[in-house]
């Protein structure tokens, strides 16, 4: 197992390498300069040229890439053009917030989707099943920025139950309740699509399992339906669902950009959007890489969970 994990981690390297090359190429080869260089019209052409030179933007792209890679190898993602901060610090500052948001969303998605998926599967073609089906399709079809604003209007403005945004009440001491109040809406919005997808997936996975021979065996052993479904069915049915979590990560990271904007969540998603518009290359690169690492690790974890849960997989 350990050696498998090590192997997988080594396998990540070429993938991450590929991603870095690709994103670097796309960004640096595109026309236009980082906005910071264009911002201030007063800057004389010479000074501007000097700044470009200082940022090394005049070097051939492969040279820039190798330099970037060299720095990254030493843990240095460079300095943000616009924020003038070490990118690593910027990200480390905010990453926990994004991770908190994503983890809560995953959790929320799981605790909502799995029971609904299972119920839907065990009562196939019932009204409950229809309800869950339509509900989850609605979740899949809703633009989440729109949903976010609607929820703020309802829960924050109309009902006053939750704050309009942010991660905690400014100036207040840390309190779990306060944190949860801030967390619930963005986590929910971020989770909707995945929640819906996961429900559908759990349902079909459970349906598949319920038609398996070993379920018939369990029934023939005289077990009650509850035991058949939850002891014999659920574990099998959930194995593929678990892998979904790994695959959900990239979409979540993407969704976080929107949700963080709508809910003012101080995470890396919003930071990425800003960086993109300002062509803050070091930040874009770093977040892309963080996202990729997160995705790859998510996949790895999913695979490991798969292996742990499914005894048929051996290493």
């Amino acid at each position: 197992m350990i050696s498998y994990i090590i192997k997988r981690v080594i396998m990540m390297i070429p993938i991450l390498f590929g991603i870095s090359v690709l994103s670097f190429a796309i960004m640096y080869a595109a026309p236009g300069k980082p906005a910071i260089l264009n911002l201030d019209p007063e800057i004389s052409p010479e000074v501007r040229e000097a700044q470009i030179e200082r940022l090394g933007l005049n070097d051939p792209i492969p040279v820039q890439y190798v330099r970037w890679l060299g720095n990254v190898a030493q843990g240095d993602f460079g300095t943000s053009y616009t924020r003038k901060m070490p990118v690593t610090d910027m990200i480390l500052d905010r990453l926990p917030n994004t991770i908190l948001l994503m983890a809560s969303s995953l959790f929320l998605a799981a605790i909502v989707a799995i029971p609904f998926g299972v119920i839907s599967a065990t009562r196939q073609y019932s009204m409950t099943d229809y309800g869950v089906t339509v509900g989850s399709f609605l979740g899949l079809a809703t633009p989440n920025f729109w949903l976010g604003i609607m929820l703020i209007m309802l829960f924050s403005v109309q009902l006053g139950w939750t704050p309009v945004g942010g991660i905690s009440t400014i100036g207040a001491d840390f309190s779990l309740i306060d944190r949860l109040k801030h967390l619930i809406l963005p986590a929910f919005v971020l989770a909707t699509a995945d929640m819906a997808g996961l429900t559908r997936y759990t349902r079909s996975s459970m349906l598949e399992v319920i038609n398996q021979d070993y379920i018939r065996t369990a029934r023939a052993k005289g077990f009650r339906e509850r035991r058949v479904v939850y002891k014999h069915g659920l574990r099998n049915g959930l194995i593929p669902v678990i892998t979904m979590f790994g695959l959900m990560l990239p979409t979540m990271i993407g969704g976080s950009a929107i949700v963080e904007s709508v809910f003012n969540w101080p995470g890396i998603g919003k930071m990425f959007i800003d960086a993109t518009f300002q062509r803050d290359y070091p930040v874009i690169m770093a977040i892309t890489m963080f996202g990729a690492v997160l995705t790859v690790i998510g996949n790895l974890i999913a695979d490991i969970l798969y292996a742990v849960l499914d005894p048929r997989i051996e290493y």
Binding site: Y214, R216, K221, G222, F223, R227, I239, D310, P311, R312
Partner: protein
């Protein structure tokens, strides 16, 4: 004779698909006495599995439904009681094993878990007692390295081993009746021989009754005391084993026996039954074998023959033999 252990009377299990009624088990009756092994033979789709699933009340639903008949087990009509009663019967009084040893065990639970689960559930044994009993059962079905096997997952076992585990599992609560649905079809002959030996040994040892489902007449010859031949959802012939092999009465049984290549007889050509097995949405009116029967006559296409007892312990569903008896 005392009452049979299992008495199936006029069992009807229909499927309903797109408004069509599919009589997959249609008026099936037979009995199983204590200690007796009866074989249900018939080709694919003849309703063998559905008959036994009906006995277990595990007919796939929605879609399938037991629509008529009685199933007396120990003198008690199982169909009268609800599912609640069945939870006590299944896996306890009646054990069942299936055709596919590869997929019939839960892949994520250890063999031990699965074996002990029934014991704990039905017999309320402690974990320790269950473990001891599970070991005992595995030994009985011929395993060595028992502790390892108990801790292992199904995928590590070969088909034959899994089928033995299934048998151990089905037998562990000392069921009075074991239903084996094509237990050896998926296995190699050498393994099949082991399993058949095992089943014979067990039935002798515990004096339990067995319903053996198969389409392999060789297996029947090896193991059964009595045979029920099914065709298109109906019993077409029922007889003790030797008379049946000596002189099959129903044209279908005759055809079935003759179409199997035999090891000890040299045949240039096999006799075969023309045509195909009809599907339930397409059963002929009249005798269901009429489309393939070499001896069919007018009446066969119009009327359904009854299953009649032509000799004690011997029943046939065919006008030829109804008439034959009448003439006598």
């Amino acid at each position: 004779m005392t009452q049979p252990l299992l008495d199936v009377r006029n069992l009807k299990t229909y499927f309903y698909k797109k408004g069509k009624e599919l009589p997959v088990v249609d008026d099936v009756s037979f009995q199983v006495n204590e200690g007796e092994t009866i074989a249900i033979v018939g080709e694919s789709g003849s309703g063998k599995s559905m008959t036994t699933l009906s006995i277990m009340q595990l007919v796939p639903s929605p879609g399938g439904k037991i629509v008529g008949g009685e199933i007396f087990f120990n003198g008690d009509d199982l169909l009268k009681h609800g599912q609640d009663r069945m939870f006590k019967v299944r896996g306890n009084d009646i054990g069942m094993i299936f055709q596919e040893p590869m997929t019939s065990l839960n892949p994520v639970l250890t063999i031990g878990d699965q074996l002990m689960e029934t014991l704990i559930y039905h017999k309320k044994l402690s974990k320790k007692q269950a473990y001891a009993r599970a070991k005992e059962m595995l030994e009985l079905v011929g395993f060595s390295r028992i502790d390892e096997i108990l801790a292992d997952y199904p995928h590590r076992l070969s088909g034959g081993m899994r089928q033995r585990v299934m048998i151990a599992m089905a037998m562990s609560n000392d069921p009075k009746l074991l239903i084996a649905d094509e237990p050896t079809t998926a296995l190699d002959v050498t393994v099949q021989a082991q399993i058949l030996d095992l089943m014979r040994g067990l039935s002798d040892k515990f004096n339990s009754s067995i319903i053996l489902i198969t389409h392999d007449l060789g297996v029947v010859a090896e193991l059964a005391d009595r045979v029920v031949v099914m065709y298109a959802g109906q019993v077409v012939e029922e007889a003790d084993i030797v008379p049946l092999f000596d002189m099959p009465l129903h044209p279908y049984t005759v055809g079935l026996m003759e179409s199997v290549p035999k090891l000890d007889v040299e045949q240039d050509r096999l006799t075969s039954i023309a045509g195909n097995v009809p599907t339930p949405d397409n059963f002929p009116t009249g005798c269901r074998f009429v489309t393939r029967c070499p001896l069919a006559f007018d009446r066969c296409a119009k009327e359904q023959p009854e299953l009649v007892e032509v000799e004690p312990g011997r029943k046939v569903r065919c006008f030829l033999h109804e008439e034959g008896r009448n003439e006598e």
